[in-house]
């Protein structure tokens, strides 16, 4: 819901103590706060409680198949770009129990479902990530057959977005039109301003619940100049070293026999990392398990990948046995046929598939190669 009608959206300036107050207010209302923290040489999204859990002074360097944390030499809490895995981990967990059942004398009964966990507060959602959450919301039932798990978790969630003021080397949200300004769907938006006088946050509420929480955090009202400075800082993140040739990428379905597929197949290991880290990839497999007696059964939904052989298994065998056909399937669906299916691209330009592909295969480079060859420029 929009903020109180007729008034400008509530915008305040918080210092880090104020941000801590915001986290406290969120937790007091019963949300489980998930946000960035440093673990295992990376920024991951995990349970956080206070500002002290956030990655202070931590930046990152990312390129194809490469990720390193870098000290920034300042007190920024959101100075990294995107975390190792996105919010999909919490909104659509890698293993979900769909139901369990017990055998009875006359058949079987379905066990009652467990109570849902406490609602999530996602702290530090970037523009590309917000876009990805919206893409998945569409996948999981904009039309028919809404997925109750995803939609339920998203509906209950509080989203605190953070706009980037610096792009990573694998980012290309600008060319996908998904950032660096965060689109719709958040409750509160932060812009982190790192200055000589310290670190402050220009915080804007977009919903009533966001506004209530911001009030509780007790910041001082933001002036026009603060908002303008924040917007200017975010503009800097639109300077990106990679870009997607979107006109070509939308037409990938027209080039199934392009020679590039063989070239990328020589490098691709079909390891599936790209699909696992992609914040929009949604494919799952369903696994039925039994106990030894066969009296108790469970059905689990698990993340799957179009890079596995089983993924395209139908009666008699798998369809996509070659590496080229699996890579082509992934990138073509993501960038081209997703439009037919959902009326938008399935890629938000977060760059994770580039960074976390162990051999650094680059989605923008693959499209650029096809772009160049089809334009006769090579």
């Amino acid at each position: 819901m929009p903020a109180a009608e007729g008034t400008a959206p509530l915008a305040v300036i918080l210092d880090q103590a104020g941000l801590d107050g915001l986290l406290t207010a969120i937790r007091a209302k019963g949300w489980r706060t998930i946000g960035p923290r440093v673990a295992d040489d990376a920024v991951i999204y995990d349970e956080i409680e206070t500002v002290a859990d956030l990655p202070m002074g931590v930046g990152d360097e990312q390129k194809g198949g490469y990720y390193r944390l870098k000290a920034r030499g300042d007190q920024a809490l959101f100075g990294y770009t995107s975390g190792a895995q996105g919010w999909k981990r919490v909104l659509y967990p890698p293993r979900q129990k769909l139901f369990s059942a017990k055998r009875t004398a006359s058949g079987f009964t379905i066990d009652p479902m467990a109570q849902p966990d406490a609602p999530l507060a996602l702290i530090g959602v970037r523009a590309c990530e917000m876009a990805a959450i919206n893409v998945q919301a569409k996948v999981f039932g904009d039309k028919d057959f809404a997925d109750p798990g995803y939609q339920g978790r998203l509906k209950g969630a509080l989203i605190v977005a953070v706009e980037c003021t610096r792009a990573g080397d694998t980012c290309f949200c600008d060319s996908m039109g998904t950032g660096p300004e965060v689109g719709t769907g958040y409750d509160i938006k932060l812009v982190e301003m790192v200055g000589k006088a310290g670190v402050t946050y220009v915080a804007t509420a977009a919903t009533d619940k966001g506004a209530k929480l911001l009030k509780a955090a007790k910041g001082k009202p933001a002036a026009e100049a603060d908002l303008a400075a924040a917007a200017k800082a975010v503009k800097a993140a639109a300077k990106q070293s990679r870009k997607m040739e979107t006109a070509t990428s939308a037409k990938l379905k027209d080039v199934p026999e392009h020679a590039r597929w063989d070239q990328v197949a020589a490098r691709c290991m079909t390891c599936g990392n790209c699909t696992m880290v992609c914040p929009t990839c949604f494919c799952t497999t369903v696994e039925d398990v039994t106990d030894l007696k066969g009296d108790h059964a469970e059905r689990w939904r698990k993340w799957d990948s179009c890079f596995t052989v089983d993924f395209s298994y139908i009666h008699g065998g798998a369809i996509r046995t070659e590496v080229r056909s699996r890579y082509r399937q992934w990138i073509t669906h993501k960038l081209s046929t997703w439009h037919d299916q959902f009326g938008q691209a399935g890629c938000v330009g977060c760059g994770r598939c580039i960074t976390w592909c162990p051999v650094g295969i680059d989605i923008t480079e693959e499209v650029a190669a096809i772009h160049d060859s089809t334009k006769g420029r090579k």
Binding site: D40, C271, T290, D291, G294, D295, W303, P358
Partner: protein, 258 residues
């Protein structure tokens, strides 16, 4: 539910360290439940009590390394309705398959005072190189969860949930930050079958390839990347030559480096 007849289970050992059989004993909590469902008819590691064959299910650990093994495994096959091989030794020849790359005669001469007492083959090979096998369960050692899953699937007449995709998929599902990307640690995960539960990558180690080649291993692409990370040809060869040295994809890759 109607009582079903408990199938007879046999556990056999060839050239191996016993670690995979131990995974069965390691099932502690589930072991009693398992004995209610199967009749343990032959399992020397657990009991001296032996029942004659034929057996409904045989779990076979170990590789074939002697002329005696070759005969014995044929007899096991004859006695078993279903034969499931367990572990890297049984499914690929194990670490002892390193002998396949060298002269065994030479080893025997160096090691034994009386080489004439030694009766061995020059290779260590998988059970499936000698008899037909119904299911191969990978790992060095196998995962007890996967072992239970395979027995469970057998008992309930369904397909076991044992994926053949890469370890990376399991790694990501477990929320582990990629060691290769974030720390530059050489890792066999992209070409290795999942199933271990990310034991090594979860402890800041690269994958050692215990579960053998995944379904479509692009070992050449990984090897090229390992070299970019600073591995020498010999390092790459050594990585591919461990517990699954004789698995075809790993063997071939190792032979192109050194």
């Amino acid at each position: 539910m109607a009582e079903r007849k408990r199938p007879k289970l046999a556990v056999w050992k060839f050239s191996s360290c016993d670690g995979c059989q131990l995974s069965l004993l390691d099932c502690e909590d589930e072991l009693l439940a398992l004995t209610e469902e199967v009749r343990i008819s032959y399992f020397l590691e657990a009991t001296r009590k032996i029942e004659k064959g034929p057996y409904d299910v045989s779990l076979v650990e170990g590789s074939i390394t002697t002329p005696h093994d070759v005969k014995a495994i044929r007899e096991v096959r004859r006695q078993s309705k279903a034969l499931i091989t367990i572990g890297a030794c049984a499914t690929a020849g194990g670490i002892q398959a390193l002998r396949n790359f060298k002269s065994v005669k030479e080893f025997i001469r160096c090691v034994y005072a009386h080489p004439e007492y030694i009766d061995t083959l020059t290779t260590s090979t998988a059970i499936s190189d000698h008899v037909s096998v119904d299911f191969e369960l990978r790992g060095c050692p196998i995962s007890k969860h996967q072992l239970l899953e395979v027995l469970n699937a057998y008992l309930n007449g369904r397909k076991p949930n044992v994926p053949r995709h890469s370890e990376c998929i399991e790694c990501k599902a477990n929320g582990i930050v990629c060691r290769m990307v974030a720390a530059g640690t050489p890792c066999l995960g992209p070409v290795t079958q999942a199933g271990c539960g990310s034991l090594c990558t979860g402890k800041d180690r690269g994958c050692f390839g215990c579960f053998g080649p995944m379904e479509t291993p692009n070992t050449a692409a990984l090897a090229a990347h390992l070299k970019e990370l600073g591995c020498s040809g010999r390092d790459v060869q050594r990585l591919f030559r461990s517990y699954n040295a004789n698995a075809e994809a790993f063997r071939k890759e190792s032979e192109t480096h050194g």
